[in-house]
Symmetry: C7
Subunit: 241 residues, 7 copies
Amino acid sequence: MQPQPSQMGYDRAITVFSPDGRLYQVEYAREAVKRGTTAVGIKCREGVVLIVDKRVSSRLLEPSSIEKIFRIDAHIGVASSGLVGDARALVDRARIESQINRVSYDESIDIETLSKRLCDHMQTYTQFGGARPYGTALLIAGISDGKTHLFETDPSGTLLEYKATGIGVGRPAVMKVFEEEYNPENSCKEAIFLGLKALHAATEGKFDVNTVEIGIVSVQSGTFRKMTPEEVAVCVETFEQ
Amino acid sequence: MQPQPSQMGYDRAITVFSPDGRLYQVEYAREAVKRGTTAVGIKCREGVVLIVDKRVSSRLLEPSSIEKIFRIDAHIGVASSGLVGDARALVDRARIESQINRVSYDESIDIETLSKRLCDHMQTYTQFGGARPYGTALLIAGISDGKTHLFETDPSGTLLEYKATGIGVGRPAVMKVFEEEYNPENSCKEAIFLGLKALHAATEGKFDVNTVEIGIVSVQSGTFRKMTPEEVAVCVETFEQ
Amino acid sequence: MQPQPSQMGYDRAITVFSPDGRLYQVEYAREAVKRGTTAVGIKCREGVVLIVDKRVSSRLLEPSSIEKIFRIDAHIGVASSGLVGDARALVDRARIESQINRVSYDESIDIETLSKRLCDHMQTYTQFGGARPYGTALLIAGISDGKTHLFETDPSGTLLEYKATGIGVGRPAVMKVFEEEYNPENSCKEAIFLGLKALHAATEGKFDVNTVEIGIVSVQSGTFRKMTPEEVAVCVETFEQ
Amino acid sequence: MQPQPSQMGYDRAITVFSPDGRLYQVEYAREAVKRGTTAVGIKCREGVVLIVDKRVSSRLLEPSSIEKIFRIDAHIGVASSGLVGDARALVDRARIESQINRVSYDESIDIETLSKRLCDHMQTYTQFGGARPYGTALLIAGISDGKTHLFETDPSGTLLEYKATGIGVGRPAVMKVFEEEYNPENSCKEAIFLGLKALHAATEGKFDVNTVEIGIVSVQSGTFRKMTPEEVAVCVETFEQ
Amino acid sequence: MQPQPSQMGYDRAITVFSPDGRLYQVEYAREAVKRGTTAVGIKCREGVVLIVDKRVSSRLLEPSSIEKIFRIDAHIGVASSGLVGDARALVDRARIESQINRVSYDESIDIETLSKRLCDHMQTYTQFGGARPYGTALLIAGISDGKTHLFETDPSGTLLEYKATGIGVGRPAVMKVFEEEYNPENSCKEAIFLGLKALHAATEGKFDVNTVEIGIVSVQSGTFRKMTPEEVAVCVETFEQ
Amino acid sequence: MQPQPSQMGYDRAITVFSPDGRLYQVEYAREAVKRGTTAVGIKCREGVVLIVDKRVSSRLLEPSSIEKIFRIDAHIGVASSGLVGDARALVDRARIESQINRVSYDESIDIETLSKRLCDHMQTYTQFGGARPYGTALLIAGISDGKTHLFETDPSGTLLEYKATGIGVGRPAVMKVFEEEYNPENSCKEAIFLGLKALHAATEGKFDVNTVEIGIVSVQSGTFRKMTPEEVAVCVETFEQ
Amino acid sequence: MQPQPSQMGYDRAITVFSPDGRLYQVEYAREAVKRGTTAVGIKCREGVVLIVDKRVSSRLLEPSSIEKIFRIDAHIGVASSGLVGDARALVDRARIESQINRVSYDESIDIETLSKRLCDHMQTYTQFGGARPYGTALLIAGISDGKTHLFETDPSGTLLEYKATGIGVGRPAVMKVFEEEYNPENSCKEAIFLGLKALHAATEGKFDVNTVEIGIVSVQSGTFRKMTPEEVAVCVETFEQ
């Protein structure tokens, strides 16, 4: 995205609209997300699946230290793309909101409530000066009252729910696969395979067992958990066949 | 709206008037509204009707997650257009004002009082530095003391009451239909049909049952409610015939 | 008013004088007033009259929602021109000052005291950074100790008392009529007719019964009141004959 | 005063010296004073006289609402020139300082003490950012311990005492008259005539009885008072003969 | 790294994204790290090793005053590269966090917890205005629950764990050596030799016994300690043979 | 002092060094001092002498209102040059520091302590933003423990002690006279004559009895006092012979 | 140091990195030090020696008022170069830190602790906006636990310990002498002679007895003291022979 003469000067501050009513700094923050690693989320009959390609570049790196899927609470998990430090700050905030809810009301936080609060927080960073918007997007997967949800946030604080979606550099390729092949009646296993196929398309096949993270929200147990590297390995190997 | 040389420099801050006494940042915020989804409000004999075209772009999106009509209190509803995060912030504020009124005075807030408070809040964002104006417009529909009202706000904090009006990208088309065909003696059903016709004109017919949201203030019950997707479907189908 | 090279740079902030000792931002705020609807005030033998042309542009608009004349207290009324949201903020401030006076001293506020306080408030917005001046002018009509007053404020915080005056886009035309025909010994009815004649001249005759608002301070009753639409209609119709 | 290339950039902020050690914003504030109405002050054997030409431009204006001479305390009066709102703010401050002194020490404030406090206040507006200097000058006339004083302040916070002086647009003409004709042994009446002569010279004779305000500090009574319009009329008429 | 026209203006503030979603100020802070002295960290079978080349330039300098490896707590040590003052500020913060944990929970802080807290702190300096990002990178070596860790932070607040890594001016040369020769089954002695070889490659052999600092986390003892100059001398001499 | 291209941009803020390590705003503040009236200070056998040429320009001005020499405490006096309002602010500060010392420790403040405190205060205005440096220099004369002192401050907060010195526009001429003729064994009378000779040289003889102020610190009495106009007249007349 | 096009714009604020990771404002502050008077510090067998050339320019100046060597506590002394006011502010801070330590822990502050605290303080002025870095360097000489130290600080907050070093305009000449002739086994007298030789080289022989200040930390007494002018005179005279 090359700067146009017409946007010169309107894109230096988040507190300034451009003549056509756009907030360039928010749009540039979205570019930071578009440069991020690809993450996908898929709702299925049995729950919600989150899959991330971690893009580990060196054999000297400990893959476990690149965390892109985070457990927020027993029933909610998050996948992120974009600036790493920003994502960690939002995840911390989400965890604290969840704990406050548990302490205040003695029950787990509703996933939509949590998602809106995070978005409200992100919106303030697009209206007030002194800071920049968050350069990160989140996929928030969870279950409340037996119903699964898959929300997507962006730097503007917009909140949308998807049946299946992707964020990061591979989003266009991922969405193409989902538009054609998504089936809400899939099992979790089938959803994982669809997600791996989408990531495979997005990364042009350059991902191996160590660079994939998978999180699952299960309708049956009502909880979120991250798959162990061994489980992931089994999935990926089965998929590759 | 292309920037003119004469407005260069006067349009970068909300705390600066242009030589001809205009506040360009407020006008640019209005452009953000003009890029938003179309919403219409229509007063009728039996109450007030709010209708929004949600413009759902992908089959993977959950239409229910795109909320453009919000219940503020038992007797007040709001339709929004423009920046999604800004609208949510204003809706939150409206709900809190309503609850404070209930707790303080043990009665529901007067709709005009509420509308003015929201506009006062918006006005401060056009006079003080450190933040940008809200990039959103609201249609506020409600009933107080048996009398229905349909207010429209804009980013400058101006408050106007209409018999029938529209906000967002389709406003010119909508107003043309209303100027010609509006009848205050319509029933709610007739008002909904007029609203759908206006939206149809504004969207050039590209809306289907899943992308329309309808809210109704009823004189009889004295309350606001959002129609269920099933009710909306019946309306739209009848209309399409 | 086109910017001149010599004012470039001195007109971007209210905390900066130009080399010739002018405050351009205050002058630009006056331009916002000059773009506003026309309001007139006329002192007469029996009291003070305020008349506003509301310029209602669409039949879909509820004329009652365009309020340009406001009751501040039992004995004081205000007509405004310029930015609508700014006027509402000043009116709120005036009402609060009046109520504080009643609560503190158990008597109604002196109209000159109130007017000076509003102007002091406006002056601070021309000296300190972080906000812009108010883009609105007020005509303040009232009665204290049996003596009527008609004050005019402007964005710089200047306060002047007039026998008859006008603000807004039609001011030059209005003042021409008043300079020629004003008579302090008129009755209220004659003053209203003079005011309508001035507005007629200012709007080139484009106003009808629904777009005029009239407020009256009566020496006899010692109070301010807004005329009902019916009373206004009678006046306008009589005038039109 | 046209901006010179060499002052470009050093004259936009009060917290910046120019390379030759000048504070342009303070000098520009002085220009605002030079555009103000002319006020003169004259010490005489019997006291101090303040005279202002109010320049009333329209017969619709109430001359009494243009106040340029203010009573600060029983023994002190002030004449102002420059920005009207700024003058009112300084006068308010002076009155409060006087009252605080009365309440704290049970005696009237010394006129030199009061004048220095006002100047200290004005000086801070020339050293700290976030506000502009005051665009107003004051003539402070009063009596303390039986001794009369006539101080002149300017936007920089400089305080000087004069035997006879003038501020505002007519200062050069006024000072020329005083340099030639001032006599400290004049009576008040003679001083008023000298002041009117100076104003006459400054305004090229364009002032009438309604546009002149006169204040007098009397050695005999030890107090300050403004002359009534009737007294002023007598003076002016006598003078005109 | 020469500035490109396209980044002009987007790289002056940390609160501004560039059109392609980058934070130039954070990238420039990384350049400060790239100009720093070279530090390496290597995990081995027996623990973790940190080695720094201090680049002592003058015989008049006391080598002991150039500290590049710091003990944070009994079980954690840190090596830094980049701005010296910034590193000291981060080390102080790390020590305080560690002590707070000991006082609050009566146990030593988990090394991952500490590393994340430091990164959270650094992230805020990339999002909020009024300060610049930290111009320093850290290698954090330690042991918690019998498991060794080697984290690397950068100015953006990103946290990665490595098996072996380097920071500072010699990083490219160091990583080349490690990619080819790193063996996780090495003893500490072998790891130190590998590190010295890498530093030797990075400094083109220009380091002597007095300019090397070595810190060791031992699995056996569960603690971190800096080697004495004598021990370092023995290592270096053995290595040089 | 004309601005050079190389200083463009580095001289607009006190919080910015120029590439050659200079603080231009402090240097420009010194220019304000160089434009001030000339003041001299001379140590002699019997004490310290301060003499100022007040440059009274009009016969209408009360010379007594131009105060350039101020008594700070019983044993300390100050002569100032530069911005008048700034000098008054510093003198106020000095007086308050002196009184605080008396109240806190029941003894008069040491002159060196006082001078350093004033300089510390001035230094902060050269390091922190939001205000400009003081545009004034002071000569501080006094006696503590029987020892006389003559300090000179400048806008940077530098403090130097002189045997004889001058500030203001005439400094070069004054220093030339002192370098040639100063004798520490002079009596006060001889010192005054030397000072008048220096001022005479600096003003090219344009000063008369009414425009000179003289202050004396006496070793014998241990106090500071300003000479009466009569005493000054005697001195000047004797000198003129 | 002439500004290069590539540093334009990155050198105006301390909160901005240049594209190559440099902080120009800190480097410019170092230029202020390079323009300062020369100070040297030398460790020897018997303690540490500080010597400063005060560069007294006029016979009218009291040399004692130019203080470049300061006693901080019984065991610590400081020599400064660069902005005089900044040095005094740092010296004040050092003295207060020392006193706080005495009051809090009933023992003298460790010299390294004190030096780090001063550097931490200076570092914050290189990271946060609203102020400029300190334009001064310090040589801190002292003794703790029987061990002597000689620290050098610079505007970035870097802390280094030297055996012998110099700051200010003559540093290059001084370091050349020290590199060639420094001997840690010197007596204090020999160290002073070496220092005078270095200053002699730096000032090209233009210093006399009145312009040299000498401070000594003695291992034997464990204290710091400034030599009297008489002692200095003896040293200088002996040296000159």
